[in-house]
Chain length 145, copies 2
């Protein structure tokens, strides 16, 4: 399961992608629209910025913007920041690989084979879906004309 933080992040980024502007959007407004507690959102956005998904402007009339176009920010990118690796074990993680005390031999470990297939299947989906596709489908679904 995703953490609350992860779900909040997805909502907030979709709000930003919809806003999709040149001007930055203030934390308070994002919090409002995304339905996220403001102070908690501050921490989340800060982390997303440090990981290169957002950028920010400080001071008066500051705020947050997407660091990249929406079609270059995948669900996998976001979830990795808030909830860590997609993989079910370190020995099959691409972004956080480290050798696994469990398996004596990675080449033949039966568990690893399965977890690797699971990771690939998950990553296939989460890396191909972006903020652009999410906003697109939402626009289509809620547009009135």
């Amino acid at each position: 399961m995703l953490s609350q933080k992860g779900r909040y992040a997805l909502h907030a980024l979709i709000v930003l992608a919809e806003h999709d502007g040149e001007e930055p959007m203030m934390i308070a407004d994002i919090a409002e629209e995304a339905g996220v507690p403001r102070k908690f959102l501050e921490q989340i956005l800060l982390e997303l910025r440090k990981r290169g998904i957002l950028r920010s402007l400080r001071g008066r009339s500051g705020g947050y913007l997407l660091a990249k176009p929406p079609n270059e920010i995948s669900f996998a990118d976001i979830i990795r920041v808030t909830d860590g690796p997609l993989a079910l074990a370190p020995c099959v993680s691409v972004t956080a690989y480290h050798r696994c005390e469990d398996c004596e031999d990675e080449k033949t470990c039966a568990i690893r084979k399965v977890l690797l297939a699971a990771r690939d299947a998950t990553a296939e989906i989460l890396e191909s879906r972006t903020l652009a596709s999410a906003v697109g489908s939402r626009r289509r679904a809620t547009r009135k004309r």
Copy 2:
């Protein structure tokens, strides 16, 4: 990521599937072979029994056995016991569905669509791989003749 408990469970069940006998196998022996702390393993096996994956015999010469043939026990079955639902959100979980405060409308929620696709992809893999396939591949890999 799987919990330590989850990884222990997979190892223990593979040991049991290899043992694959009529006679029960004692906790102490499973712990030994699977490399799991004995008292911790007790709790894990107990839970797997309550969820119908194992059965047990009590008293002297007691022990644990698989409750079903190895080809009917999937990785998904095991992971659901030790680590909960495969899904990334309650609103896309088959085994632990409950409505999601996040999405206003499940039909159109953009996040839900992606998480549902991810769940399906993961389940596809984890439900098709069983203890039999794991033991099979291991046998093949380590057999000397």
